[in-house]
Symmetry: C3
Subunit: 117 residues, 3 copies
């Protein structure tokens, strides 16, 4: 069995790891918060999940960011740009789309690499 | 050549397998059907495609579900939750977005693991 | 260190390669252009990026196309269908969604395979 999962419910897992590839989806914690706070929360969740996966934020491969309101783009980027370690940015797409909970101003789908076991 | 494809047309393949990773996109078959029927169809298609790939539904890694109408979320989840084998749920994002055919109420983009060859 | 990046800024990389998997995101260059021109630009960018990654357009695995206006679907497909080498089409999803720049009529998120090193 070469699939490792963390935070598994009947619907989803928080983290799935297959060989050296880590898959995450992160949502904000504070539904009433603005984009700056929610982006900080999502990035902190990514960072913690990667730490728990034997990876870290310098090993991101592909990130898709969904923003229900593209007017949040610049404020999101200010948090993102300060968070990404220099020289390690992943490929990234930013898509305007509504999300499952109207309180989410951002959702992140992440693929990262962990260190070889 | 280490890429395996099934159902390849000039536009897309139904299944692409690279090393131990399986990529699928599934759409519903009955365009006039409600979300319960269409979700069942999409999940049955995923299950069959995974079987044809040397994988199965307990080996999902990452799933992105697109729903044109997020009002379908709860009914979709009822089918999903009953379908996922306990303890094996993938990371999952659910995004509101219109799709190529207005008759699609759901589309699924799937990454799974097959057993090592 | 087994992650290779090209075109890395403080925000994103143009290309990220991990083991044999290549990740790309491509946007059009001419913001005032129609879907035919923008699709041609995006596909040419994919082709060049894959060449620079030790891959090529016959080794696409998974492509997600975002179109702000699904009325562009047929014209996009005409360019796509002529571009994909016969017998090598990836799995593909086409999603209606607005993008970061209102001048983009298409954005492509690509996963491909490079030849084993």
């Amino acid at each position: 069995m070469n699939i490792e999962r963390h935070g598994t419910t009947g619907r989803y897992s928080d983290i799935v790891i297959h060989r050296e590839t880590v898959y995450l989806v992160e949502i904000p914690q504070t539904l009433s918060a603005d984009i700056t706070t929610q982006t900080s929360e999502v990035l902190a969740s990514i960072e913690l999940s990667l730490k728990n996966s034997g990876s870290d934020k310098s090993r991101l491969l592909q990130v898709t960011l969904y923003l229900p309101d593209m007017a949040d783009y610049d404020a999101m980027n200010a948090v993102w740009d300060a968070w990404v370690p220099p020289g390690t940015a992943p490929v990234r797409a930013c898509i305007a789309a509504s999300l499952a909970n109207p309180g989410y101003r951002i959702e992140a789908v992440v693929v990262a690499a962990r260190l070889a076991q």
